[in-house]
C-alpha cells in the first residue's frame, strides 16, 4: 500500500504539495497559536455542555403525566439538534445573530460558534447521560428512597454518580467529536487552526499547512483518550481494592 502510493506517477508532486517539511516548519508556530483558540472554544463549550446535557437528561427522565410537556420539549430539542448538520447551525447563528444588530447581543463570531456547539452537543451528550441513568437498576433508587432520601437526593447521590461513571467512555467520544468540530467555527472567520492553515495555503498553495492543523488535532486527542482510560482504571481499582476511599 505504502509502496503503491510512494511509487505512483503523481507522487513527486503530491509529496511537494502535501508533505513539504520546510513549509510544515514555517507555518507550525502560527497555526499552533491559532490552535489555542480551538482549545479555548473546546474547553468553554464542554463546560456548558456537561451541565446542560445533564439537566436535559434529568428533565427527560421525570416520571408521571405532570411532566409530560417537559419531557416532550426535551425530546423535541434532542431530536432537532441531532438532526441538523453542525455546519448549518454554526452558519445560521454565526452569520444570523450578529446581523440582527440588536443592542447587547454579542457580535463575536467565536461567541456564536461556541453557542452553536453547545446547542448541538448538549443534545448528543444528554442522550449519553440518559443511557447511563437508565442503566442504573431501579432497585438502587428504591434503596435510596427507603432510607428516606427525597427523589432528587436519590438522583444526586445514588443514581447519577453511578450513571456518570458508566458513560465516561462514550462521553469521551463526544469530547473528541467536539474538539474536531471546533474547526467549523473557522467558517465564521474566527482565526482558529483550520482558518489559519487556509490562510497559509492561500499564500503559497502548499497544502502541507493543513497537515500541521491535522497533527495538532490528533496530538490533543491522544491525551484525552489516555485520560479517560486512566479514569476508568482508577474507578475499577478503587472499587476492587477497597480501603482507599
Amino acid at each position: 500500500m505504502v509502496y503503491a502510493v510512494t511509487h505512483s506517477p503523481g507522487w513527486p508532486e503530491v509529496e511537494a504539495a502535501f508533505f513539504d517539511w520546510g513549509a510544515y516548519r514555517d507555518s507550525f508556530p502560527a497555526i499552533s497559536r491559532a490552535f489555542l483558540l480551538n482549545v479555548k472554544i473546546f474547553l468553554i463549550a464542554e463546560a456548558f455542555i456537561l451541565v446542560f446535557a445533564l439537566l436535559l437528561a434529568v428533565l427527560r427522565s421525570l416520571p408521571g403525566p405532570v411532566f409530560f410537556p417537559i419531557r416532550a420539549l426535551s425530546i423535541a430539542y434532542a431530536d432537532f439538534f441531532r438532526g441538523v448538520p453542525t455546519i448549518l447551525v454554526i452558519a445560521l447563528l454565526g452569520f444570523g445573530a450578529p446581523a440582527l444588530a440588536i443592542d447587547g447581543i454579542p457580535t463575536s463570531t467565536t461567541f456564536w460558534g461556541i453557542v452553536s456547539l453547545v446547542l448541538i452537543y448538549t443534545a448528543y451528550v444528554s442522550e449519553v447521560y440518559r443511557a447511563g441513568i437508565e442503566s442504573v437498576h431501579p432497585s438502587q433508587e428504591a434503596a435510596a428512597r427507603s432510607l428516606g432520601l427525597t427523589r432528587s437526593q436519590a438522583l444526586g447521590w445514588v443514581v447519577l454518580p453511578q450513571a456518570v461513571r458508566r458513560v465516561i467512555p462514550p462521553l469521551l467520544n463526544d469530547f473528541i467529536g467536539l474538539q474536531k468540530d471546533t474547526a467549523l467555527v473557522g467558517i465564521l472567520g474566527s482565526v482558529e487552526a483550520f482558518k489559519q492553515s487556509q490562510i497559509e495555503v492561500a499564500a503559497d498553495f502548499n497544502f502541507t499547512h493543513y497537515l500541521v492543523a491535522a497533527t495538532l488535532f490528533v496530538a490533543i486527542t491522544i491525551p484525552l483518550a489516555r485520560f479517560t482510560d486512566w479514569l476508568v482504571a482508577r474507578d475499577r481499582r478503587r472499587r476492587q481494592a477497597g480501603a482507599l476511599a
Partner: protein, 245 residues
C-alpha cells in the same frame, strides 16, 4: 405498631394483594410465609410506600401512611427495609453506604453519623470492612451491611424481604444470627422468609400468605405442627419435601 387494614394492590389486571388485614404489635416479630408470587414482597413494599396501595389503609406508629399528602420521606425514615438482593450502593464504601441516610435524610453531621455507624458495624462484626466497597464483600457481609444501613436510621420497624434467599447456604447463618440479635433487642419486625426453621425459632406469629390473602395465622408451633387450612398443609408438605423444615 403496624396496622394493615383491607389492603389491595394490583399490577395491571393482576390482583396481587386481595384484602390484607394484619397487625404487628410493638416488639413483635411476624413472619410471612407463602409460595413464590403470593405477594410477600409486594406487601412489604406497600408498607414502605415503595408501592402505592389501591385500597385499604396502613397505619404505622399511629400515623396513617396511606393517607393523601403524607410526607413519605419522613415516614420512610422510621421504617427500615432490607431487600433480598442487598441493594447496597456499589459506588460507595461501607461507611458511606451506612451514613448516607443519616446524613442526608436525618441531617446528622458526618462525624456523628460515622460515630453511630462505626458503633453498629462493630456490633455486627463489620468494623474491619468499614472502608471496603461492596463488591469486595461476601454476600453474607453485604447483607449484614444492608441491615446496618437500615438500622442506622434508627427505625421503629424493620421489614425484611427474604434476606437470605440470594445467599450461599454457608452464609445464611451469619445473617440469621444478626436478625436473631435484633429480635432479642426488641425490634419490631415483619419478615418475609423461606427459612421455616428460622421462622419457627424467631416468630411471635406466622402468617401464611396465599394468592394475595392471609389464609392462616398463629403462633409458629401451631402453624407448623397443626395447620388448619389444606393449602397451608400442602405448602408445608412441599417445603418438608424440599428438606427445608
Amino acid at each position: 405498631m403496624i396496622e394493615i387494614d383491607g389492603v389491595r394492590k394490583s399490577f395491571g389486571r393482576l390482583e396481587v394483594l386481595r384484602g390484607i388485614d394484619l397487625d404487628v404489635a410493638e416488639h413483635e416479630v411476624v413472619c410471612l410465609i407463602g409460595a413464590s408470587g403470593s405477594g410477600k414482597s409486594t406487601l412489604l413494599r406497600c408498607v414502605n410506600l415503595l408501592e402505592p396501595v389501591d385500597a385499604g389503609q396502613i397505619v404505622v406508629g399511629g400515623d396513617e401512611i396511606t393517607a393523601r399528602g403524607v410526607d413519605v420521606n419522613a415516614l420512610r425514615r422510621r421504617i427500615g427495609i432490607v431487600f433480598q438482593a442487598y441493594n447496597l450502593f456499589p459506588h460507595m464504601s461501607v461507611i458511606r453506604n451506612v451514613t448516607l441516610g443519616p446524613r442526608k435524610a436525618l441531617g446528622l453531621s458526618r462525624r456523628q453519623a460515622e460515630a453511630e455507624a462505626d458503633e453498629l458495624l462493630r456490633r455486627f462484626g463489620l468494623a474491619d470492612k468499614r472502608d471496603d466497597y461492596p463488591d469486595r464483600l461476601s454476600g453474607g457481609q453485604q447483607q449484614r451491611v444492608a441491615v446496618v444501613r437500615a438500622l442506622a436510621m434508627r427505625p421503629d420497624v424493620m421489614l425484611l424481604d427474604e434476606v437470605t434467599s440470594a445467599l450461599d447456604p454457608e452464609l445464611v447463618a451469619e445473617v440469621l444470627n444478626v436478625i436473631r440479635e435484633l429480635a432479642a433487642g426488641g425490634m419490631t419486625m415483619l419478615i418475609a422468609t423461606h427459612e421455616m426453621g428460622f421462622a419457627r425459632d424467631i416468630a411471635s406469629r406466622v402468617c401464611f400468605l396465599d394468592a394475595g390473602v392471609i389464609l392462616e395465622q398463629g403462633p409458629p408451633a401451631r402453624i407448623f405442627s397443626t395447620p388448619q387450612e389444606p393449602r397451608t398443609r400442602q405448602f408445608l408438605d412441599r417445603i418438608i419435601e424440599a428438606g427445608r423444615l
